[in-house]
């Protein structure tokens, strides 16, 4: 499956939910597909933390759909995160593993145990019940409603081809990204994130 086409389809189905992308091709490709700076947090500065990051948002904003696109290079660093996800079982958290079997952004070097890694089986082994494996755009379109629209935590492997060219970075300042993303959640989910200290009582 081609990542750009895959993301184009996701973007066409995104409503008011938020997206978290990890370092490398997921961030660069989502940016080039959507040019979105409000409904997405490009967590390019860290690998393997984005599903936990998404879980924190999903806990606080339970009606807000949270889509997490994690590269498999990030996944192999912290597969134990799935145990925490299973414990939390957040119905609005949708974890998508973008599997291209290489560290695409850093020279397309192979992952450890590259071709044998069965990510869906790993997810099932920790008890995640709604696990999907998607290797074509047609399959994605056919399964999308079941994965995304039905309530319940899901883990979905998106098997894609490595990109021939790096998509490049995302042209947004990191702190601006925080503010824009946070303001979007405040407006959409009706929760308070930013509190200016001048308006808060001093705790003694």
């Amino acid at each position: 499956m081609n990542l750009k086409e895959c993301f184009q389809y996701f973007a066409s189905r995104q409503e008011d939910g938020v997206v978290i992308t990890s370092a490398g091709v997921t961030s660069g490709t989502w940016w080039r597909t959507t040019h979105d700076m409000d409904r997405v947090f490009y967590l390019g500065a860290s690998m393997s933390m984005i599903s936990m990051f998404g879980a924190g948002i999903a806990m606080g904003a339970p009606k807000l759909p949270v889509w997490v696109f994690m590269g498999d290079g990030a996944f192999v660093m912290n597969p134990g995160m799935l145990m925490v996800e299973r414990d939390l079982d957040l119905p609005n958290l949708k974890h998508f593993l973008v599997s291209n079997r290489v560290y695409n952004a850093t020279g397309a070097v192979s992952l450890p145990n590259s071709r044998r890694n069965d990510y869906a089986a790993i997810a099932r082994a920790v008890g995640i019940e709604r696990v999907f494996y998607i290797d074509s755009l047609d399959a994605l379109k056919a399964q999308f409603d079941k994965i995304v629209l039905q309530p319940g935590h899901t883990f979905t492997v998106l098997e894609i081809e490595p990109l021939a060219e790096k998509p490049g970075g995302v042209p947004i300042d990191d702190v601006e990204s925080k503010i824009r993303f946070g303001r979007y959640i405040e407006k959409t989910a009706g929760i308070k994130i930013f509190r200016h200290p001048a308006t808060e009582p001093i705790v003694r």
Partner: protein, 171 residues
């Protein structure tokens, strides 16, 4: 658990509640196991056991965008593994992160494998300009809300580090 330790644990938990903390993500070291058990059974907090300390950093950083005041609770060895996550997530994006940890490897710690924590933990925090409050006496427990507030105001991580004597209610 001794009465002294129960009192110390209770005092710490009350200061957490006073700070407004609602989510605690933890991975134990034996000094904080009782604190974790007590957080777990206190309805004022949602407790999440994590697979590694960096996951606590990720979860609590996301919780910030979910409007949930959160804290990561871990031992000194765990904090030593979090430099990447803290400097990449919290420093880059200016996301507050409140952390409790243990002052392992100092005088009185009977475990020789904690020697590196005694030698390097505070130096490590200094080297990455990570503000910390050392809780070496019971009276300092009352400063926990102040440390949490500093974390929120400055949009940076702040660490509160406890001695074993304070956690046991002996100091």
């Amino acid at each position: 658990m001794s009465e002294q330790q129960k009192e110390a644990t209770s005092a710490i938990i009350e200061q957490l509640a006073k700070s407004g903390i609602r989510l605690v993500a933890s991975l134990p070291d034996d000094w904080i196991a009782d604190l974790i058990h007590n957080v777990e059974k206190d309805d004022r907090f949602k407790h999440v056991p994590v697979n590694r300390e960096e996951s606590a950093i990720g979860l609590c950083s996301g919780a910030y965008f979910g409007g949930i005041p959160a804290m990561a609770l871990m031992g000194a060895s765990g904090l030593m593994t979090c430099v990447y996550a803290l400097t990449k997530i919290n420093y880059t994006y200016h996301i507050p992160m409140f952390i409790f940890t243990t002052l392992r490897g100092v005088f009185g710690d009977p475990r020789p494998h904690h020697i590196s924590n005694g030698l390097y933990l505070t130096r490590l925090m200094d080297s990455i300009s990570l503000p910390y409050l050392l809780v070496e006496e019971k009276k300092t427990i009352a400063r926990i809300p102040e440390a949490f507030k500093h974390c929120q105001v400055m949009n940076r991580p702040v660490v509160v580090a406890f001695t074993e004597a304070v956690l046991r209610g002996e100091s």
